[in-house]
Symmetry: C2
Subunit: 247 residues, 2 copies
Amino acid sequence: MKSRAPGIRLYIDADLSSDGAIKLADGHAHYLRNVMRVESGDEILVFNGRDGEWRAVIAAIGKASVRLQIEVQTREQTPGPDLWLAFAPVKRGPIELIAGKACELGVSALIPVITARTNVGRINRTRLQTIATEAAEQCGRLDVPEVKAPVDLPEFIADWPAERTLVVCDETGGGMPIAEALAGANPAAPWAVLVGPEGGFVKSELEAITKLHIIKRVGLGPRILRAETAAIAALACWQALVGERRP
Amino acid sequence: MKSRAPGIRLYIDADLSSDGAIKLADGHAHYLRNVMRVESGDEILVFNGRDGEWRAVIAAIGKASVRLQIEVQTREQTPGPDLWLAFAPVKRGPIELIAGKACELGVSALIPVITARTNVGRINRTRLQTIATEAAEQCGRLDVPEVKAPVDLPEFIADWPAERTLVVCDETGGGMPIAEALAGANPAAPWAVLVGPEGGFVKSELEAITKLHIIKRVGLGPRILRAETAAIAALACWQALVGERRP
């Protein structure tokens, strides 16, 4: 077996099972043929978020499609952390950074939340989903986090699932140090991290958020972090302190 | 007093003391005059890494220079964490991300370390220093981390100060979960975080690093993080678990 394409790992829609054959078209076929220049017989890895990860062989390369032969399961599907990231949209560079890094750091869903001080226009949800998908392919995840439709903060609060703990990054200094707030927390429970816009939440927003059932207001140190830095830092701390702490 | 320029915070070289006057030229004068469009009488904040933070008033704006009148100290100089980030250089986007985010996350020095699998060319050290300085201005730090000259890994190891604890991000899975490795660690001691290149350290490098006196090999979870993500995540965890843990 050749190993010319050892690094390729592709998220696809199709069901995966042994001895299955899959035809890829459009973006995937273009990527494999023209970007990665795979050849017949090359091996890649594929996953779909349901059936684990499989080794597949390039069986045929056509002008507009690539045929894969699914060979053997390399990893079983296991659930990742049940961790949402809710974040006030920021400018294009930082919001794309959030989408990629949040995926690498294991979030299960990304929720853009429009707050009083949010001052960016339309969110390119398709682009953010593509970035999250590529990050999932590269970081070895078995699923892809969903980029949800933007919601206004009042709606986000009204619809909040009571059993989900919300970690609110509070740049006003009113929060507890994150290591203290998350000490001994339950990794099996549902979680979410909420990060405000540049300039923070307005007072009435923070009060409304604080009325939610299970909430932890956390601080991330004495420096003023950019929104995207706060999101990445809070997620990294959550994984270290809760999600991927040694049992 | 007008407050047209409330957000401006400038790192300058000059000594700062009450009733001092400072003439800014070149980049700083251009930035204040043409980018921030300050006017005579506007207030800004200045710091130099030695004398704390001071409020200053724009006293005069000339064609090529701006004169500041230093008014009153707003914060005393206090030391930040003694935390270095040593990192294998990566491509331009990610390395610039590291410079800015590491500064926001409180590192005192940035050290590019050339490893066997480092495959980027020249490092634009001036550019990285500028990014770190701007991040310091924006995040409210009282100092600016120094971007050191690149060193080869063997030299880095040979010159290692024995009393400094090195946290090595080990993507091979041989590390301890970072929360466990850093539990109860001493925030007053000197620290450093080391992050390898995409593809990781080669085996002999990791063996050489492991021979250093005080070393903690840590893991950052089951996903394969990009080098810049690992750097940011490790620094955020260090601050939460060691540097900015409630005493």
